[in-house]
Every structure is written in structure tokens, then in C-alpha cells.
Amino acid sequence: MRNHYINLLEPEECHYLSVAESNPAYKLIPVLLVVAVLAGVFTKYQSLQETIAKGADLKARWTEIEEQVEEAKVRAERHGRLERGLQTLQGWTGSRYNWPDMLSYIAKQIPDPKEKVQFTRLYFDEKMVGIRDKSPTGGPVYRGARPRREVSLELRGMIRFEQPELFLGRFQGRLLNGEDAPVNILAVNLDNYKQLPAKEDELTDTAFTFTIELEPRVLAP
């Protein structure tokens, strides 16, 4: 402690008191600071060591399992292919169109008088989208996509009738909305309608073509 006001002492007689002398507890401050710094450094070092250890463990684990994981990945991909393969096979039977019933259905929908119509061609070529044909987008269809059956049936014929358009309209409606259709019919379009030349006293023959679009069927169980 320094007396700023009255100083009667000779310089050598001056005695300065350190803070620590006035309060010994202050001596602890630098010690505590050092301890705190050391503790901080130690904690930081520990945390770094933990990260290093974790990295080393992960690396070791990866080295240990990498080959097995690669094999397992290949196996998982093959599992997917096998699963799709089995599902395709399981769906093959159920996705078939019932053609005997479909042919009967078409014959049943011909409106009376049936003898006025003659069919000249019935044709379809089933698309097997994903196996036989590319997807509508034209892109690669295989991965992830299930194969699908699609059929557009072409029915050509000739009719000799006073008002062929009425007959064909009825036929179209019956094909589209007839009862007991073995498959959902999406659309029936009259694609061709052509009246052929005839003698004056005879009824005109009319050629027609219907396209019957059936609901696609996915090859899945």
C-alpha cells in the first residue's frame, strides 16, 4: 500500500505490500488460470483423440467389411432382379387376356340383324411393353418397370344395311358397354367407313374397321 499524501519514510524504509500479501487468496488466481488452461488443453486433446480414434475405428471397420458389402450390394441387386423375375412369372398367367371369352363377347355384341354383317378380318398383336416394346417415352424401360400387356384389336367387316351408320353406332356402343366383358374395354373407335359402289337397285356395301382398345394388364401377382 502506498501513501500518496504523507511520506515521511526514507526510500529504503518503504515497504510495499503485494496484492497477495494483502489477500493471500489472490495467489490462487494464476494457479487456477494455469489449471484452467491445462484443463482446456487436456479436454481439447481428449476430444481430438476421440475423433482420431473414431476415424481409425471406422476405417478399420470399413476395411473389414468392404468386400462383403460389395458382394452384398451385388446380391441385393440380383435379389431385386430375381424378385421381379418371379413376380413377372407369377403375373404371366393372371395377366393373360381371356381370348375365348373375348371372342364370344365380340360375337355376342353384334346387333340384329346379324346376317347383314360379315367380318373380313380380326387381328391383334399383343404388345409386351418392357419386354417386346419400349416404353411410350421411348426410354429404357427395363429397370424398375413391370412389363405390361397392351392390345388393340382390329375388326374389319362389311355391312349391307340401309343405314349402316346406325348399325355401326349400335355395335360400337354394345362393344363398349356390353355386359360380361371379360376385360375392361377402354375405347372402340371406328377407323374406317367406306361405302362401296353398287348397282342402282341394290343396297350399298359399307366397309368398316373398328379398333378395340383393351385395358392394359401388368405382369404382376
Partner: protein, 213 residues
């Protein structure tokens, strides 16, 4: 207390202390913390790169046993279906000929059976290595059947075929009239069965089946 007010001993002690602390700090920093930090940084990069890989890998390995079992079961199921209902790997044509002719005779039809020329599926890219995992396992094996018969007989034949061969598909149908005999039509059918696209798949299925049993 100011530095100038300290005696010599105190000053020396203070300078030594400060110097010691700074030296200790640099020693700790350079010999302990810096290498540890660098190693930790490297480890952190490793962790970021590998942590999810390892986790996914562990999950995958955990599932692997189940996958193996499932694959064995699926292969067994496919093999069973193949053996019962699908054309054999060799001599498919004679197999199809026998089955179809027999069915046709049963409904009083004489059928001409020919292998469909070409293939009715998208071929793998020629000259390129096809990734087997990316293409369907099954492709159709097709035969063309030509016959002259009535509409009713055709329906009977198709019905018999449908029942006797659960895996046969009618790939195409063409019915046209026959001018000579109006009740008898010219009929051309394409019949298809699923067969394995790659021969190697057969061996693969067999090995999976064997592993499972």
C-alpha cells in the same frame, strides 16, 4: 505493482515465468495439439466419407442372410414353375409342337406349328456388355400356329390351351375368311411362353436353389 517497481529477483522470476509459459504453450501447441488437430481433421474427413457407408454396409450385411434365404426360396419357386409349365431349355420347338398338335387334334383341328422367325422381344444391345440386372429375366419363346377351322373350334382350342398351359399367351391372332368354305376360316396365331433370356441364369437359379437346400 509496476514492473519498474519490482526488484531484480522479482523481474527475473516474472520474465522466466512468462517465458516458461510461452515456451510451454508452444511446445504443447506444436508437439501435441497441432499433430493431433491434423490427425483429427483427417479423421473427420474419413468419418464424413465412411460413416454412412459403414452404417449402410452394416445394415446391408445384416440383411444379407435374409436375402440369401429369400433368393434360395425364390429360385426354388421359379425352378418348380419352370419344370412344370415352361418349355425346356433345349428342344423347345419339338416340345411346343407336341403339346399344340395334341391339343389341336383333341378339338379336331389340324394345326401347322412353326417357330416364329426372329425374336419377339427387344434384343440386348449387340456388341455391348449387357448388364444382366437391367433387363428382364424372361422373354417370350414364340411359335406360329396356322389352322383352318371354324370360329367355334378356335374358341374351344384357345380354351383348352388356356387350361392346359397356364403360361401360354396368345401373342397375336389373325382371322380371315376363306372364300371356298365360309364356315372355315384361315387362322394364324402366335403362342408364347416365358423363357429365360440368358442361359447363365439357369445355372444361377440352380446354384441358388442348391444353396437354399
Amino acid at each position: 505493482m509496476k514492473f519498474s517497481e519490482m526488484d531484480k529477483n522479482q523481474k527475473q522470476l516474472l520474465i522466466l515465468s512468462v517465458g516458461g509459459v510461452i515456451t510451454a504453450f508452444f511446445i504443447v501447441q506444436n508437439l501435441l495439439l497441432k499433430p493431433a488437430k491434423e490427425a483429427a481433421l483427417e479423421a473427420q474427413t474419413t468419418i464424413e466419407e465412411l460413416e454412412s457407408e459403414v452404417n449402410k454396409g452394416d445394415l446391408l450385411l445384416k440383411r444379407d442372410t435374409t436375402l440369401r434365404k429369400e433368393m434360395g426360396n425364390m429360385a426354388a419357386e421359379i425352378q418348380e414353375l419352370r419344370a412344370q409349365n415352361l418349355p425346356p431349355e433345349t428342344s423347345r420347338y419339338i416340345w411346343a409342337l407336341q403339346h399344340i398338335s395334341s391339343l389341336a387334334r383333341g378339338v379336331g383341328i389340324k394345326a401347322d406349328v412353326q417357330e416364329t422367325p426372329g425374336v419377339r422381344y427387344m434384343p440386348s444391345n449387340a456388341g455391348k456388355n449387357t448388364n444382366r440386372e437391367s433387363v428382364p429375366m424372361w422373354v417370350p419363346y414364340s411359335v406360329n400356329v396356322t389352322m383352318y377351322t371354324s370360329f367355334e373350334n378356335l374358341k374351344k382350342f384357345l380354351q383348352e390351351l388356356r387350361v392346359a398351359h397356364p403360361f401360354v399367351s396368345v401373342g397375336s391372332v389373325q382371322i380371315e375368311p376363306n372364300d371356298v368354305t365360309p364356315e372355315i376360316h384361315y387362322i394364324r396365331l402366335t403362342l408364347e411362353w416365358p423363357v429365360l433370356r440368358f442361359e447363365e441364369d439357369l445355372e444361377w437359379l440352380k446354384s441358388l436353389h442348391k444353396e437354399a437346400t
